[in-house]
């Protein structure tokens, strides 16, 4: 069985044994069996509990030996003292994939460290792969399998997350729910390399996020990441930048974090883009999902507020994006609508013209003009709050953008009166992406460009 087939047992198991399955129901008990059922797992479930004949209406077995058939995956959720015994039973049964949910191993104390080592050794000898320990396991919205206890909304967003914390399986950010997620936990066996090889040609996944505390098999990671990053964007949130952060990592996933600067260099070498914050993670998810991977150098800014245009201009320079030199033709189209005393530049301030001809008309003219200007790679629109209906130009953007496919349009919806719902609706157009601020919109395009360069580089 190659690594891809092995990983399939974790992401798309046809049958699962849950060892240490509890009968306690309700959110407060974090019952992974219950949440697996609720999530809509389509395969067969075999609860294993020495004291139960049935759990949640499913026949339970007193131990692994009693299972009527082979299972593809076992999940061990017992107290740590029983994990070694359970692992031995799984191996005897011939199970090839095991998630160890339990805590108290390398992240805890010396005894835990020794226990983890022993478990990893017997598994390796038997050819059984282990995910964990100290993990929430896997979430796969495409297939309907989730081993975490969280009652997750099922998502088919083509983003995969490979993480060293269970937090990420709940979605790291409030608006992004990942289609596939895996929590590597203590990485006693399965690590970033295994998962990257599985995701490399996975047609369900277009973007890969890594949350990394430490790494094993550094050389192999570089090799695989370099290959994968040519096929799809690989973004990493590497934590433990600080000294205290590195100390904390030792008692979280038991990883050795190493000097941060070494990671920086390694990521650059293999085409992995490093993100600096959770905000950026959220921004880049929608950026990569909605825009094609183009290099942006020359920005046009359309604004109804001079002040907002200047804020956006500062942001462009700070992200190494130029303001495009707009053609005479482009400038003329907006100038024709403006009062005679007003001269148009970039940022394109459409406010004086809007007072004469109405905002929607002038906005539409300006957007069409800059999109058709061959000196422009992408457009940032600083839109007023849609508190006025006249400022709701989502329809105009959709129609205009359809004629100029390929140039990213990013939106800073200024002002206080917009709700998450309004923004979500706007994004359904998939012609333009809305960001909370102009600074973040521009930074997202700079990162998109960074990836386009990685992809287009020859080496």
């Amino acid at each position: 069985m190659d690594v891809i087939d092995q990983m399939r047992l974790f992401f798309e198991p046809r049958s699962v044994a849950v060892i240490g399955a509890s009968r306690r129901t309700g959110y407060e008990h974090f019952n992974l069996l219950e949440s697996m059922i609720t999530y809509g797992y389509p395969g067969k479930i075999y609860p294993v509990n020495p004291n139960a004949d049935e759990i949640f209406g499913i026949r339970a077995y007193h131990n692994i030996n009693e299972l009527p058939e082979m299972v593809e995956l076992a999940i061990i959720g017992t107290p740590r003292s029983e994990v070694l015994h359970a692992m031995r039973s799984c191996i005897r049964k011939g199970i090839k994939a095991v998630i160890i949910f339990s805590q108290g191993f390398a992240e805890a104390d010396e005894e835990g460290k020794a226990l983890q080592k022993e478990i990893a050794e017997i598994a390796r000898e038997a050819g059984t792969r282990i995910l964990g320990p100290n993990t929430l396991g896997v979430t796969n919205g495409f297939y309907g399998f989730s081993s975490g206890f969280a009652q997750l909304e099922r998502s088919k967003l083509p983003i995969a997350v490979v993480s060293q914390t269970g937090m990420i399986l709940q979605g790291f950010t409030r608006s992004t729910i990942f289609g596939k997620g895996i929590d590597l936990g203590n990485m006693c066996d399965i690590d970033f390399v295994d998962v990257l090889e599985y995701l490399e040609d996975d047609p369900e996944v277009k973007v890969i996020f890594l949350h990394m505390e430490g790494i094993k098999r550094g050389r192999k990671f570089l090799e695989v990441a370099r290959r994968v990053s040519k096929k799809k964007p690989l973004l990493v949130l590497k934590t433990g930048r600080s000294n205290r952060g590195r100390e904390a990592i030792r008692s979280h996933s038991g990883s050795l974090a190493g000097e941060d600067i070494i990671y920086d260099g390694a990521f650059k070498q293999c085409g992995v883009i490093r993100l600096k914050s959770i905000d950026e993670l959220q921004d880049m998810a929608k950026t990569f999902l909605n825009f094609s991977w183009v290099e942006v150098r020359r920005m046009a800014i359309i604004t109804a507020t001079g002040g907002g245009g200047i804020i956006a201009t500062d942001a462009c320079e700070e992200s190494n994006l130029e303001l495009a030199q707009l053609s005479r033709e482009t400038l003329g189209k907006v100038e024709d609508l403006s009062p005679p005393w007003f001269s148009i530049g970039n940022p394109v301030d459409i406010w004086p013209a809007s007072l004469v001809h109405g905002y929607p008309k002038v906005f539409g003219v300006a957007l069409g003009a800059v999109l058709s200007d061959k000196n422009v790679d992408a457009v940032l629109c600083v839109l007023p709050s849609p508190v006025h209906k006249v400022f709701d130009v989502s329809g105009i953007i959709e129609r205009t953008a359809a004629k100029f496919d390929g140039k990213p349009i990013v939106i800073w919806r200024a002002g206080y009166l917009y709700s998450e719902e309004q923004v979500a609706l706007f994004e359904k157009n998939r012609k333009a992406v809305v960001y909370p601020t102009g600074e973040r919109a521009v930074r997202a395009l700079a990162t998109l460009t960074e990836y386009a360069k990685i992809r287009n580089s020859k080496d």
Copy 2:
């Protein structure tokens, strides 16, 4: 009349003449007369329009001379060619405060520049103060006066914004609506100094935000800002950091922006805190409104996710905040609830204990313990998404915090499933403030500390 009385004419006028009042109704016409009425202005309005006897049911006058009484404030919204004439009429009538809404002055062309100069000169001679030109004017939610065209929600949030863009009068951010706002526009007369003197002892205003493109009267600004910053936080978003940004400023408000590094030094000298982004502006509004002005050095982090704790740890170090050395007693309280193999540190990882005793109980114990620890100045709680009811600990936070008043509690509500409404509710407690990410929560405390130091410094 001193400057405070002069500024009162702009913020709390008892009567207003609107020169160039239009009869066109509906959002698309940006009719400032209409929006003034909708906003609920309690004073007397006198529309002035040579072609109308009545507008929106209010008696209109053909020119300023016909007004039956003196007005405290005039707003000029005519085309620029008529502004000088209107200004002369106002002066003849003896009006002491004029907002020039019209555009096409120093921000536009040479003719506009000359016009602006002439208008400023005749006003100065007459002792009439001018706000603008090229301004949306003033918003005062406490009094019910707004000269902008935007249909604003009326807010009594004790934050004032002094801005060089009208954008800010609509609220720069989606969740913050300012109680008082003024758009200085081209600053041909009234500038930052005048407004700061008015706001200095204004009991309705606790925090002052400046949006600054350029400055006049630099020395006087330093003097006044130094005095005001000892009384209330003064935060500035200074734009034109970039070369292109500075060029754009010239054609926006006609200001000379000058070298950015000079502003940096000046702000430090006079206790003005410089913000770097719109996100930060939003974060600091709620921070300053909810917390007392304390210096935070030693942070405790309570987390249900080890990975989130590490992200927060990195953020603390990057914002120059220490992780507190928790007392043996504090650690013991959570250790007593944890499995024997788990040792508690800071970040305080409460997850292993939660699996045994339930999340709410352990969270409450941990929060009480760190708040009563004399080595702790503030607490960051990394809370899981409230997708599980068991994770909704807002009540616990409220009750616990009430016993330990004075130590800021900041919340990073991780995970995707929370809505703006949930966050808003949470904030009504006013015992803890929620931020979109841990990084932003920590940065907010660092800025709070920066202000506390300014306030506590002797010079």
